[in-house]
Symmetry: C2
Subunit: 347 residues, 2 copies
């Protein structure tokens, strides 16, 4: 059987209507809703065909039709025309801030606010090199290490030292650390480098051990795939996502950054790199997501590093709006990074 223009039009009308109302769509509705000027009987015949082809399904004998995953997929790939950018929507959504962390938090928040779904944003994964490092004596037995890595990610680490150090000692350490670490990435910091530093540290080698491990910790921290989420409770607004138990599990998954990071990695690994990806129902990773869809977008930094923005919502999601919002946002992010405006990462 062939999916001719008319069938497509009808399918589109069914899905659009279902996305709006959440109710199974009947033939009479479509008959009136479209400009096809066909009777409900004709629509019924077409619907029977569409069902046979697997695009729609009846939840029960005497109900209207709802889209199958395959139907959604076809809608997203071929039927949905993207929202025209009204001029005012183009207006920038993000405030400029100077730290990656704050920027991404903001992205998650703005997106959740605009879409009413749950959102997640990962920091770009790139070789973060040390831009600045400084050790200071905070009190009698604590050193504070401040490390700034590319993207202005700032990490602090208090290091307990049980030997008294004077300011001159600290100064020496600072010179040593900067000589070796400035411009280094996590991968550059290996046993070899540690040995070399120890060799130059003379009598302080044992103390340096502590300090060094503290700093490596902090750099490691900064390199971790951070995830920012927002609007988790939005999930509760869509009761169609199974029962409370399931929803509650989903929420927990969403709040567990570790699990979430796995999920995102899975989606990213599936992505074909063309920007925006839509995962519908079964296509989405994770057990509790059968009734959800995930839409992800990738933003790029000039150096080629990529981060992901994701939206989690019900299958019956306003794909149009989500996709267009995501597009605008990634464009804006790309620009922010390009200009070095906002987040400053000129090393």
């Amino acid at each position: 059987m062939e999916l001719d223009e008319r069938k497509k039009k009808i399918l589109k009308a069914i899905i659009a209507n279902y996305l709006e109302t959440g109710e199974p769509v009947g033939s009479r509705t479509i008959s009136k809703y479209t400009d096809l000027n066909l009777s409900s009987a004709t629509i019924r015949n077409e619907m029977a065909d569409l069902e046979e082809m697997g695009y729609i399904i009846q939840p029960h004998t005497s109900a209207g039709r709802i889209p199958t995953d395959m139907g959604y997929r076809f809608y997203v790939d071929s039927l949905m025309e993207e929202k025209v950018d009204v001029e005012e929507e183009k207006s920038s959504l993000l405030e400029r801030v100077d730290r990656m962390e704050l920027l991404l938090k903001q992205v998650a928040k703005v997106l959740a606010y605009n879409t009413n779904y749950a959102t997640m944003v990962t920091a770009p994964k790139y070789k973060k090199t040390v831009k600045f490092i400084q050790l200071s004596k905070v009190d009698i037995d604590n050193l504070l290490a401040v490390i700034v890595v590319e993207g202005n990610i700032i990490k602090n680490k208090l290091i307990d030292v049980n030997v008294e150090l004077d300011n001159e000692d600290v100064l020496k350490f600072n010179i040593l650390l900067n000589t070796f670490l400035q411009g280094a990435s996590l991968e550059d910091i290996n046993l070899e480098m540690i040995q070399a530093m120890k060799a130059q540290s003379g009598e302080y080698a044992p103390i340096l051990e502590d300090i060094f491990s503290g700093i490596v910790d902090a750099i490691h921290d900064a390199n971790e795939l951070e995830i920012y989420t927002s609007g988790a409770t939005n999930i509760l607004k869509y009761p169609e996502i199974g029962d409370i138990r399931k929803t509650s599990e989903l929420l927990e998954t969403f709040e567990d950054k570790n699990e979430l990071s796995h999920l995102i990695e899975e989606t990213v690994s599936k992505a074909d790199g063309t920007g925006i990806q839509v995962y519908i129902g079964e296509e989405a990773p994770g057990q509790n997501m059968k009734d959800c869809s995930i839409v992800t977008a990738t933003y790029k930094m000039p150096e080629g590093a990529e981060g992901t923005i994701g939206i989690l919502g019900p299958k019956r999601m306003d794909y149009k709006k989500v996709v267009s919002t995501l597009k605008n946002l990634t464009i804006e992010l790309d620009e922010i990074f390009k200009k070095g405006e906002g987040v400053n990462d000129d090393g």
Copy 2:
């Protein structure tokens, strides 16, 4: 009418049973459940009395009894004996960490894990004085201010400067800032002090403006009543708390740190300072909390500063367990602060 021993025993049995099962408790159950050896008829008479006195109520004519808020109140105040501390429970719940922030996050988490309710922890509210302050040049147009305040709360602030500064300039600023700010609390930093600093900064006065406002921001930040929460989704496990809509609103309230901070302040203002406070149903602040109870505890720092730990759960809460867990935890916290072990705040 008098609340004699027997009535107390019966009331206690009713509430204990209700806390366990969540079902209205009938006379027959109590007749068997207690060691009073009374027939159900007698219990019924006593129950009628207890109802008249306002401690219990029938959800409908032919149902068993459930506690009223007043019943819960009496139970918590007079009937509930506290859980005996099994030796193993005494074992410490907290790992030692060196920063207030991490410690309190941990408290929230451990508590949520142990009780299965939603938890919140506020940082102690005290005059936080500046322990350490340092300005460094991170790149061509960014200065990094690092401020450590008492309790080892560390704040970073990137400051955009549009004038090129050399290291010597930065050094000067550092000396200036330290002279004025070390040991100062937020209240100490007033217009007068700013004027004095400006007077000493000479040609740099205009730049200092930016730097100073950045630093004041950061100190302000550090002084804000931070709240750490955990286990918010636990709320979903207790369907007795109204419908989904209400629950969802409650969750949102819980995730909104600002609102939450108001709530906590309200409870604290009501507290009589004897440590653990229980707010049952209507006694709790906030509109969506009619079906909830809040239990708060106060921990103290040696300087007299106080912070609050709170638990939010259904009225039908395991008060015994909650109170004992909270007690242990505050004791442990008090000790950590006393010893200066873990969080280091010897200024």
